[in-house]
Symmetry: C2
Subunit: 388 residues, 2 copies
Amino acid sequence: MPDRSLIFPAAEYRARTERLQAEMAVHALDALLLTTPADVFYVTGFLTRFWESPARPWFVLVPATGAPVAVIPAIGADLMSRTWITDIRTWDAPDPVDHGVSLLTDTIREMVPVQGKIGVPSGLETHLRMPLSDYETVLRRIAPRSIDDGTACVQRVREIKSDAEVAKIRETCAIAGRAFDRVKDFAGPGRPLDAVFREFQIALLSEGADWVSYVAGGAGPDGYGDVISPATPTPLDPGDILMLDTGAVRDGYFCDFDRNYAIGTASDTARRTHHALWNATEDVLRDLRPGHRACDVHRMLCDGLTRRGAEPGGGRLGHGLGITLTEWPSFTPLDQTPLRAGMVLTLEPGAIVAPGRMIVHEENIVLRENGPDLLSPRAPAELPELVG
Amino acid sequence: MPDRSLIFPAAEYRARTERLQAEMAVHALDALLLTTPADVFYVTGFLTRFWESPARPWFVLVPATGAPVAVIPAIGADLMSRTWITDIRTWDAPDPVDHGVSLLTDTIREMVPVQGKIGVPSGLETHLRMPLSDYETVLRRIAPRSIDDGTACVQRVREIKSDAEVAKIRETCAIAGRAFDRVKDFAGPGRPLDAVFREFQIALLSEGADWVSYVAGGAGPDGYGDVISPATPTPLDPGDILMLDTGAVRDGYFCDFDRNYAIGTASDTARRTHHALWNATEDVLRDLRPGHRACDVHRMLCDGLTRRGAEPGGGRLGHGLGITLTEWPSFTPLDQTPLRAGMVLTLEPGAIVAPGRMIVHEENIVLRENGPDLLSPRAPAELPELVG
């Protein structure tokens, strides 16, 4: 029986750690302190839904050379011991007096030279998952060791997916693709939107998702006003466009794409808009190459929509994807991040159909030297109609 | 059609805000800065799974008097406008140059006096959900305004649930209770554990969960080694004890309780242990009163187990519950938090059955003046057997 708690062979995590250490050398960092579920999973393979409890912080310290050290609550020792990590230090948490602070301090003092610099991800798309007052205490106690921003170090490594990671994301995308194929079985005129959301999550689980971290969507005449709200019990009406968007998870890896459906017969407006979105995506699937920047994708998608008579809208038009629902970069006019081979990305053009109403289209790709390779099964060129 | 995005009438949120402001006055705070999904939902009713994306921070500023102000990414404006909040300030996020920093700074400067003090939750069970470097920039720009720990202020308010909140948690517990009743339909000898986890999530959704944020469990001879791992495909064996534990969500409110099942005929060890766990819980259901401290519950449960020949184990033996899977306090020997009427709590005694193997039992209660009121349907006194 393979141990699925590891997800990948130890060699995968060792290679990740070595790539992090190469970046750390460039940034003159003597260690990286990681605190989020994604960063901890990335270097260790420690995967659990227990992060849902805010009661306990978890720490991984990546030294300049050698294997990472886990400084974690005792409740995680059994699971962590099944990863490739061998240096596991635990405390009985939650401890209102010393919530891992002494153990983390001692570990840093032991592993980082007195004049050393520790990278902590502090920039865009990061947060520190530990009590701020404990962090400040650790900083005082490890002085004169200093802190520097570890964001670029982590992001330049994590954004390039290994073939093993791409295979996982492709598998999750296939699961969601099969669930989308079943939407016609439970969505149609008169069906309440919240029931559709539930059935869609059930379909994702039935098709092999380990869990469903994200489902959103919307429905409205020719388009929807908002793509982040929970579902209401409002029944679907003929003339509505229904959108479902999911971040399902298999083996710790997300998909993130959506599908649109016309309830009853699609209007000309809806069909024209869907056509523009689909073809603007085709342009990028054909033309995108490593060396383009994130903002170039935004421009390519906007141009593709405008040329076809659609009005671009909906904020950023795509982003990175992997072990969180969304990763950097963002396809906005401001994001200059260079795109590189091995990045997994979403193409997510949105078009305004009326004031306060839009349609959003989304696919997942991995960027290769010769262009994008689709990970999500391609949406149908024609907007599907659910006649119920 | 009621607007479910609000969950409660505006009066509920106004009362919460006034209770926060009363605590703020005690702590001499001129404002509270909130950044986490739970804190933002608590004061505004803003409920979305979109927090799953780490790309954007969200801010709510609670002033000393009057309604809170939302400082949020534009993508959330539509949903926030359906809450009781009217002062909603947005920026186009993600913005790699100014990710809400100027807007938040300006809002604080406008609303907090120059010599004012802003509470930021920084203690046990908290974290700051925004990039650390942006936080440091805001701090510099709002000087001489200062920061103080807002943890106690938020926790003393949130830990006392209104009747409307208790009703929501009771409803989620009922959903999970019905899903547990269906476990016999899909778990039994030979069934892979990961398939059981999927079917259990499907049952939770079918019974009315909006989503399933947490499922954990374990299976092994007479008990399990670990309660936080994802499921493996290992088939259930006669003699195993299967445990399933869930934090399902309905209208933003969690349940958090588990159930145990013997696969085939339960051994004497398993039955004796389950009996001790069930009866130790009965003791607390009978004897617990406001005025007890968190550590008293730990002692009561340990005494109840020891007296019945079982060995207490499994870390903390319960905790708070509400709009996150776990809330403070923790039933450990160290936690002195006084228990008060209106607290929703889990009773979670664990017992060691063999080295590295345990059984954990869990119920959810609301503490009233005259003692606990069960929110979860009480587990059967006898360990159920799945003969499949």
